[in-house]
Amino acid sequence: MPPADTSLAANAPSGAEGARRAPLPSPTAAPPPTPDPPLLLFEQVSKWYGTVLALNQVTLELTGGITGLVGANGAGKSTLLRMANGQLKPTLGRVTIRGLDAWDWRARRRVGYCPDLDAFYEDLSGRQFVWTLARLCGYTRAEATERTERVLERVGMRERANRTLRGYSKGMRQRIKLAQALLHDPELLILDEPLSGIDPIGRQELLELFQQLASQGKCLLISSHELEALEKLTNHVAIMARGRIAAVGTLRQIRDLLEDYPLSVRIDVDQPRELARAVLALAEVQAVSLASGDTPGLVVQARHPKRFFQAFGRLVVEQHVEVHRVEPLDESAHAILGYLLGGSGRT
């Protein structure tokens, strides 16, 4: 899985991922080349719709890999994606694509956008639709034809693209939307709910395609309600709540920052009662209970997961405990989202 190269949101919990530190320049050496501006940069961006605050001082930087964007309905995900694509202007702050204002039409050369809406030119075939959009990008007929065939093959629609769009299933329409986003070979792909309505096999194919694209150096920003699918694709997420980015980083990093919510860890051992006594003595452990089920074990609730695992490791070595399995129970995106959003984690 390609790692996402993403720096922190300013309003996210600190420490999820360290800022890259540039080496000190040598006094005799030639000045280092200016690094490329970030692929996507939100700088203190706020957006009002009338009196409704949709985005609240969001700062976000993406430079590569796959980033999942999750959050409840109305959290501001679509607004953020549409700003990244230059469809909306920030009320305050700035959104840039490689240093160019996202509103600038030239920035759209670097961005492919797969919207959530399900509206097409229904009388066209899938192939005609993609070809038309390729031509509208400014390609010659030959180039547009070549690119159309490539992207249709890439999304697995080459053999089925001659039917009119109105006869397509939801999954086929999603693939066509994805195909048009890939036409101009963008560096940044913004995908709004790309897995919605796609069957499990198609979903797996698209997940593989996303991973291929990321491995080719593309940056993907994917909004999805399908947390399980997102977890398969990337463990790097940006979590939005009430117009803010509540957290950004890997799921583990975000989980570690949630000190108010003790981590639940299931530990399978042969003598759980003895281990429970020893574990309770650790400072990080808040509660211990015996695990239910056929396999003997216990469930530990611990704060400061990193320190807990270090202490637990020492304990295991010192007391020669035979541990069969250690499994964090609430490191999933669902659980983390639930903690962050104060609910069940449903998006």
Partner: protein, 347 residues
């Protein structure tokens, strides 16, 4: 499993915004071949008006004066003028038989005065004038042509046929895309927003001209000889008005989410009524300048233009300048507004 493509699509051929612009023009033209609901309304009204004009033209009276009936009587102007000749006036009539003999009642000043020869001579001379006038071919042709011009060209064509056709087509250039929520496919192409607005306008303009001038031709050709004169004399004004109205309604389609409602209100309360008002308010209506062009064309050809009821017409140069400036100005305003507007129709 999806086919793998280790090489991304070539970046060798950068898209050209000029090609994109030209393709968008052609795309806009192609998408407008279908007549939408408002187009059918305009067609229906045009069909009705053409039928009425054809019936009037084919009738015995036609657009000419001699065979038209005098108000509130059953006799024609020709009959009335003949009735005023001395031979008719001295005819002893039974006033109770006026209806059965198809004669108008004789007014006191029409009655013969044989006992006062001087008065009778002057009376005969004056009352012969209508008959003499009705024998004048230039007068009759001018009268009929001005009647046709006033009602069919100025009132019917400029009043609502042309505005409705241009409203139906020009407002749909962007309005239909917004309604179908397909504007996003254009807005995500690497094209300047102002270019999208301009290309949509230029792509739709041929349809506006085709239907606007087609309606003009249909009305003219149904009007017989006078219609053919009107077609030859007024077509420049029709072209100028069609382009100017197209610019107005293209802007309306881009600015308002319900352009048809706004357009119909504009047509009937502004272009139709305000253009007829005396005073300076009419200078704000485009119809007034098109009427002035028609008025000046008819005046230059020596027709009795006072019958056209155009209050204080401007010179042709002024009318051309205003219609041209309005077209260019409104298009520039539209490009400026469109380049700054956010479209959230898909939200």
């Amino acid at each position: 499993m999806l086919p793998t493509h280790p090489q991304s699509v070539s970046r060798a051929c950068d898209p050209s915004p000029v090609i994109g612009f030209a393709v968008l023009m052609a795309h806009s033209f192609q998408r407008h071949w279908r007549v939408r609901q408002m187009g059918w309304v305009a067609f229906g009204l045009l069909g009705l008006v053409v039928t009425v004009v054809a019936v009037v033209t084919a009738s015995r009276a036609g657009w000419d004066l001699p065979d038209r009936r005098v108000s509130r009587t059953r006799i024609t102007y020709r009959e009335y003028a003949e009735q005023l000749l001395p031979s008719e006036r001295y005819f002893v009539r039974d006033y109770h038989d006026d209806i059965s003999t198809n004669l108008a009642p004789q007014a006191p000043w029409e009655r013969p005065a044989p006992l006062t020869p001087t008065r009778d001579a002057i009376q005969n001379l004056l009352l012969t004038i209508p008959y003499v006038v009705l024998q004048s071919e230039p007068f009759l042709r001018g009268w009929g042509y001005m009647l046709f011009s006033k009602w069919i060209m100025l009132r019917v064509y400029l009043g609502f046929v042309l505005p409705l056709f241009t409203l139906a087509y020009a407002s749909a250039a962007i309005g239909a895309e917004r309604e179908a929520r397909s504007l996003i496919w254009l807005m995500t192409r690497p094209l300047p927003r102002w270019a999208i607005y301009l290309a949509k306008f230029l792509g739709t303009l041929p349809w506006c001209l085709a239907f606007g001038l087609g309606g003009f031709a249909a009305l003219c050709l149904s009007g017989g000889e006078y219609g053919r004169w009107a077609l030859a004399m007024y077509w420049p004004a029709a072209v100028a008005a069609t382009i100017a109205f197209s610019a107005v309604f293209h802007l309306v389609g881009a600015v308002f989410s319900r352009p048809i409602v706004v357009g119909v209100v504009y047509v009937f309360f502004f272009e139709f009524l305000v253009a007829l008002l005396p005073g300076s308010l009419k200078l704000l209506s485009l119809t007034f300048y098109a009427r002035s062009l028609m008025y000046n064309a008819a005046a230059a050809a020596g027709y009795p233009v006072s019958r056209l009821d155009v209050a204080e017409p401007v010179s042709s140069a002024t009318a051309w300048a205003v219609l041209g400036a309005a077209t260019v100005g409104l298009t520039l305003v539209g490009m400026w507004l469109f380049a700054r507007s956010e479209y959230r129709d898909d939200v």
